[in-house]
């Protein structure tokens, strides 16, 4: 337990450092917030980094089909944490799902809002352990105008020197949670007493482990109805976290294509 807390504090310190670097190095920073556990933990870390305030706007890409609980949770935290919330509406195409849906809609909506506000950098709460493709991500990563990720030609990060690269009208992705694991997020959620989207808790034997929209997310079998029970459940699982997310598996290399195209 003591080791757990020490490890967690190291992660917190590193993320706070990255968030402060991101804010210092860029002129106009925004963050993506899905009301899921990761981006909510990131906002809590931002409050730790900047003496209680989240000093940048948070963007929710809203396709109108998120769960009602998610919308309620958004309002609750917006009020409690005094968030500067931007809702970017994205259209859904009922005949599409997974790759086509996430790719064309969410990414397009993000492009529009980035242009409109002139953001030069975007905080995204991805973790290396989530997906093989995400294991190659860097704390700071340039995306071009089309949001393309040039994964073959990434800038170096040597010690704490982040060697910038021209984004050619694009933006910089800031990834403060890269070193975290799923279970670390929950341990921190417990330690920092962060409010939790109720969809993560079990209802009638099912809970959501990873949250997307109502069309592409399926719950897992689980009786975990508190953060501590979720932590215990994760200690023994052998199932992928994102197994309930359609866009990760419908075809090979979907995640690669999505990320190359600028998906979160």
């Amino acid at each position: 337990m003591e080791d757990d807390i020490k490890n967690l504090q190291e992660l917190v310190n590193r993320s706070v450092y990255v968030l402060r670097e991101g804010k210092s190095r860029n002129k106009n920073v925004a963050a993506l917030w899905s009301m899921g556990k990761d981006s909510t933990a990131m906002l809590s870390l931002a409050r730790e980094a900047f003496l209680g305030d989240v000093p940048f706007p948070v963007i929710h890409i809203d396709n109108g089909i998120d769960f009602p609980e998610t919308y309620q949770f958004r309002q609750k935290l917006k009020d409690e944490w005094n968030l500067d919330l931007i809702v970017a509406e994205s259209k859904i195409q009922p005949e599409l799902s997974g790759f086509s849906c996430c790719g064309s809609n969410k990414t397009d909506a993000l492009k529009l809002v980035m242009d409109e506000y002139g953001f030069d950098s975007l905080i995204v709460s991805i973790r290396r352990d989530e997906h093989g493709i995400r294991a190659k991500e860097k704390y700071f990563s340039p995306r071009d105008k089309e949001f393309k990720w040039d994964y073959k030609n990434q800038p170096a990060e040597i010690w704490n020197n982040y060697i910038g690269m021209e984004t050619e009208g694009g933006h910089i992705r800031i990834h403060p949670l890269l070193d975290w694991n799923e279970i670390d997020i929950w341990k921190y959620t417990s330690l920092a007493k962060i409010p939790v989207n109720p969809l993560y808790y079990s209802v009638k034997g099912y809970r959501y482990r990873s949250l997307g929209c109502t069309h592409c997310t399926v719950p897992i079998q689980s009786d975990a109805s508190s953060v501590d029970e979720i932590i215990n459940e994760l200690k023994s699982t052998t199932v992928e976290e994102r197994s309930g997310r359609e866009q990760d598996k419908e075809k090979e290399y979907v995640m690669q294509k999505l990320r190359q195209m600028g998906y979160m």
């Binding site: 190291e10 917190v12 310190n13 706070v16 450092y17 402060r20 670097e21 804010k23 210092s24 190095r25 409050r47 730790e48 980094a49 900047f50 003496l51 209680g52 305030d53 290396r128 352990d129 997906h131 093989g132 493709i133 294991a135 190659k136 994964y151 073959k152 990434q154 800038p155 170096a156 990060e157 040597i158 010690w159 704490n160 020197n161 982040y162 060697i163 021209e166 694991n181 052998t238 199932v239 992928e240 197994s243 090979e252 290399y253 690669q256």
Partner: protein, 403 residues
């Protein structure tokens, strides 16, 4: 995880992931399917090389990081590309590593290459002084002890010549593809009485790190200045010693004194904060906003504050126009740059000439436009690691030796 391309770094890490049981069956199945699609037998490297083009080309593009629990610890393995043109990624990977595993293929026509030696040299330059050397593909010579010994003596000579102490390196014969001596020892190899790769990595993790900044006076790297509620907060990271929530501190360079009112770690007020903590130092003293890259200290500051330093660096480019340096992530213009000595990283010996080319290492002398706070790398890593940028590109990187 260092070594020449195609000597099996990714395959070995893939094998380690499977042995540890850390990888889910779903991912293994996906890698199996991808292997048969490109027409090879099961390739453990595909657990790391997850991009379609990496799999078709059989090469790693950039660093991949994975965590593997073992006994009482968790290893974070950084797979770096072996290709010469990807030294930039190798340097990024090495700068965040505590110790290194070197993978050398024992297959005929593979063996120890310039790139193997270059990787070891750069890792050592970047502060790594513990090496576990895995002699891989030993199945290709039926685990021939003579082959193993031959590699062992050659690498021992090289490690010694660049100053790695004998107690800090070890050798293991393995076959990553056939899972021999990775997690457990194969007892049928009678001549090998050592440990498995996992046990050897575990042993290396227990060798004490060289002392770094531990006994230095308190230092805080300043990342930015935040004005809040009539107060000024210096946001930064404690890199040595312990700071307290009262009394004075000094800003280097410039030696301006400030009065400390409070210290915050996260949203908690604290009496003191120690090395590694991200903090906000609240002061009532009026300071300028442009303090990024300065250092806050108490007591007698034993580092340097100057516009000149000497460094040992490794070159990726030879274009030395329009130079600047990055130190603690802050750019400063270079006004004068001289190469004092070139060292061949493959042989570890001095080379004639004063004009370094790509893949050379050199001792350089640099004058900057303004005074900066820094230290030698061996005393304080955070303040002693430097990157040289030329016309916007990464030219060289290495460690500060002196002022």
């Amino acid at each position: 995880m260092l070594g020449h391309k195609d000597h099996g770094k990714s395959t070995l890490i893939g094998r380690m992931l499977i042995s540890s049981g850390k990888i889910t069956p779903e991912r293994v199945k996906e890698a199996e399917k991808a292997s048969s699609e490109v027409g090879t037998e099961f390739e453990p490297a595909f657990l790391l090389d997850t991009f379609s083009d990496e799999r078709q080309l059989g090469m790693t593009f950039d660093n991949t990081r994975v965590q593997i629990p073992y006994k009482d610890t968790v290893f974070e393995l950084i797979d770096v590309p072996g290709h010469e043109e990807l030294m930039r990624s190798m340097m990024s990977g090495s700068s965040s590593a505590d110790f290194a595993a070197v993978v050398i293929s024992s297959k005929e026509d593979e063996g120890i290459t310039d790139q193997t030696r270059r990787h070891i040299y750069v890792a050592k330059l970047f502060g790594i002084d513990r090496f576990v050397v895995a002699i891989n593909k030993m199945d290709s010579n039926n685990f021939d002890e003579k082959v193993f010994d031959n590699f062992k003596w050659q690498i021992t000579d090289f490690l010694r010549s660049i100053g790695v102490p004998e107690s800090n390196f070890s050798f293991i014969p393995v076959s990553a593809r056939n899972d021999i001596n990775v997690w457990t020892i194969d007892k049928s190899i009678k001549w090998y009485r050592g440990r498995s790769l996992f046990d050897e990595l575990h042993a290396a993790s227990l060798i004490p790190e060289p002392a770094n900044a531990g006994n230095l006076e308190p230092r805080v790297i300043v990342q930015s200045v935040l004005l809040k509620g009539g107060n000024t907060a210096l946001l930064g990271k404690v890199i040595s010693g312990k700071i307290h929530n009262s009394g004075g501190m000094t800003i280097v360079p410039g030696n301006k004194q400030i009065e400390v009112k409070d210290i915050f770690s996260g949203m908690q007020e604290k009496k003191s904060a120690g090395s590694g903590e991200s903090v906000a130092v609240i002061t009532s003293t009026v300071v300028e906003m442009g303090l990024r890259g300065s250092v806050l200290t108490t007591g007698k500051y034993t580092g340097f504050s100057s516009n000149h330093f000497k460094a040992h660096v490794f070159f990726l480019e030879q274009d030395l126009t329009n130079l600047s340096i990055l130190l603690m992530d802050v750019p400063t213009k270079v006004t004068s740059f001289t190469t004092e000595e070139i060292i061949d990283p493959v042989e570890g010996v001095r080379k004639d000439g004063k004009i370094p080319v790509s893949l050379d290492s050199a001792i350089v002398s640099i004058t900057t436009e303004r005074e900066i706070a820094f230290d030698s790398f061996h005393r304080c890593r955070e303040m002693g690691s430097v990157v040289i940028i030329g016309s916007g590109k990464l030219v060289a990187s290495g460690t500060i030796i002196s002022d």
